[in-house]
């Protein structure tokens, strides 16, 4: 394939909050692809029978596993909220600067609250006990 010239992009622009939200959407999406793999691994281990499930469960209920689950949940909440924002834009709503800024703040706040709630749920005493 022929080498074609590439316009200067990311590095020539002054930082704007929209860039951070945009790249976070992509990063959380990739993280969720991996989380989907984890979910499938969990389902497959359960389908292999009680012994196989019991052998693999500590991976999920250990501190490392719980942290990964918490990260995946945070990624899900962010990707979900920001995804709704994208869908609204696709329908033609929320393009005004003030609206876009407000929805960005809302996404961040909901993600933080949701992630903290889920952290509590995942790490609450007795959670996920086998």
């Amino acid at each position: 394939m022929a080498e074609r010239p590439l316009s200067p992009h990311i590095t020539v622009y002054r930082w704007a909050y929209t860039m951070t939200l945009s790249i976070l959407h992509r990063i959380s999406g990739v993280a969720l692809a991996l989380a989907l793999l984890g979910l499938i691994a969990w389902l497959v281990s359960a389908s292999l029978g009680a012994d196989a499930y019991a052998a693999l469960l500590p991976l999920l209920t250990g501190t490392g596993g719980k942290l990964l689950v918490a990260l995946a949940v945070a990624a899900l909440i962010y990707h979900f909220c920001n995804g709704l924002r994208h869908l609204a834009w696709d329908l033609g709503y929320g393009y005004e600067r003030a609206d876009a800024r407000r929805s960005a703040v809302l996404v961040i706040v909901v993600t933080l609250i949701g992630a903290l709630l889920c952290l509590y749920f995942i790490f609450r005493p007795g959670a996920g006990a086998a």
Partner: protein, 128 residues
């Protein structure tokens, strides 16, 4: 009438003419996934325990296998579309890009099939 030079057309420059389909399916799968993702998140976080009996009982109960299979299929579809764009943006060179795209497609189909099979196996084992 095309303004494209014959050489450019022969070299497959320009659009593949299916960009809108990709864009639209990404939005359609996102809309379908939104309620399913909330359902799965709430259901999994409120499971009383993660032991074998509780988990397999929940997976096989009522409409759960149907919703789970749908979630896995649509999430895999949506994930495939998203990862495709990421690969196209960051991996360069025909061979590397094509191999990554092909690998991503195969892995997404493989894992979606494995997940749906696992759900069905658990659900059908419970109902005799």
């Amino acid at each position: 009438m095309s303004l494209r030079a014959p050489l450019a057309r022969a070299l497959h420059h320009g659009t593949a003419r299916d960009g809108v389909g990709h864009w639209l399916i990404q939005r359609v799968t996102a809309s379908a996934l939104a309620p399913l993702a909330i359902w799965l998140l709430v259901a999994l976080l409120s499971l009383p325990s993660s032991d074998y009996t509780t988990v397999t009982g929940w997976i096989g109960a009522g409409l759960h296998p149907v919703l789970l299979a749908l979630t896995l299929l649509i999430a895999s579809w949506h994930s495939w579309l998203g990862i495709q764009v990421v690969i196209e943006d960051y991996l360069h060179g025909f061979l590397l890009k094509s191999s990554a795209l092909l690998a991503s497609l195969f892995l997404h189909v493989l894992f979606a099939a494995a997940g749906v099979y696992a759900v069905l196996r658990i659900a059908l084992a419970g109902s005799t």
